[in-house]
Symmetry: C2
Subunit: 245 residues, 2 copies
Amino acid sequence: MNEVIKLLQSRCSVRKFTEQVIPQDVIEQLIICGQAAATSSFIQACTVIQVEDASKRNLLVDLAGGQAYVASAATFLVFCADMNRHKLVCDMHNSEMLSGYTEQFITATVDVALFAQNVMTAAQSLGIEGVYIGGIRNNIAEVSDLLKLPALVYPVFGMCLGYPAQEPDTKPRLPLSVVLKKDRYNDDNDTKTISEYDKQVREYYRSRTGGTKEQTWSEQIAGMLVKETRPHMKTYLKDRGFVLK
Amino acid sequence: MNEVIKLLQSRCSVRKFTEQVIPQDVIEQLIICGQAAATSSFIQACTVIQVEDASKRNLLVDLAGGQAYVASAATFLVFCADMNRHKLVCDMHNSEMLSGYTEQFITATVDVALFAQNVMTAAQSLGIEGVYIGGIRNNIAEVSDLLKLPALVYPVFGMCLGYPAQEPDTKPRLPLSVVLKKDRYNDDNDTKTISEYDKQVREYYRSRTGGTKEQTWSEQIAGMLVKETRPHMKTYLKDRGFVLK
């Protein structure tokens, strides 16, 4: 195992940060790493909003469901899927852009995620840690208004970055046989394997919380999936022109 | 700039590979790197199908629009967004899973992309290169049948990996001012900046093709977006239970 693999395998979400700021030239190097990720048909559909303004950061804490680290992290980035850029480009050539395809929604969203994961890895290589903030989709229309996002741009997630003031343990992942299949999908043994894994997750929560949380993975997931999940997303995406035709 | 940042910034898509195989224990280390990526609410929604069977690889070449390297790469991985796993887990607890939310579609798709980008970075750290294959969505229903994907599983993209037999130049990316914004979205100067960048892209294609290709970025994008883009995707996703309610 080389250093890069060690770095990737030891990743944890970090939510507590020191006061140390991240210099702007470092942020820019991270973004250049993001840009270097693969991009579907060269569409380059990711735009990052770096939120420095303190009042906006405080509003984003609330909009993301009360996650205080959105304000306390040294840097907060909002990763947007951006097809407004392609509209500009089509206008430059007087051509009529066809938009609203599910396929475009997928390629733009994937572009953003590949980009962001490079930013995260680059950050970690410099001793900076962070956490993704899917919570900005709790109130996605308000977040979009706050950041003045035009049509055809949607904020996929945020990312807190900073120098860590905590060292969480890595969270155990599903056994390899569940996530890696040979030649065809086959879930015959997955329920059994997940039951074994459940014990590991329970132990992880138990040791981390001093016994106050004992949930297994399957309990956590099953408990979550009986509830509606941000049902406003479809209407929002239609309103922003990311309609799924 | 440290070695990780250099590695990320020097990435190129590689489509020609030597005969050298990638040992299975290396593949497994790459997958473990993928698993270590962040996962929205711990859903762990990525399943990878490693396609070894030669006849399946040949079929996938055609299904992905004739990309021969899908067969010639040492390894071909299909990254799937998998919520069948969550159905299993809900069944374990006799709970009724609510599915089909756009939000779930986003979180599962993002999970897959974060996972895959870690796999790509880990591979590159070992001198292995590769390319993402969005082309598997050209005939996504046939690909799903070939890999026996059940409902609630969709193949987001493929990935060819192998030891490189070519060294492509890195493709110039959009100027930083276009992709990184401060506090709010603002595209006032983007058209002008993109026009400058267009010259760079034209020069890149010119030098790479000995003058036979001279396209700018904006020409390429505008030319692409006047055409329909995999219009079958929405129906396919409905059929697979990834309905967007």
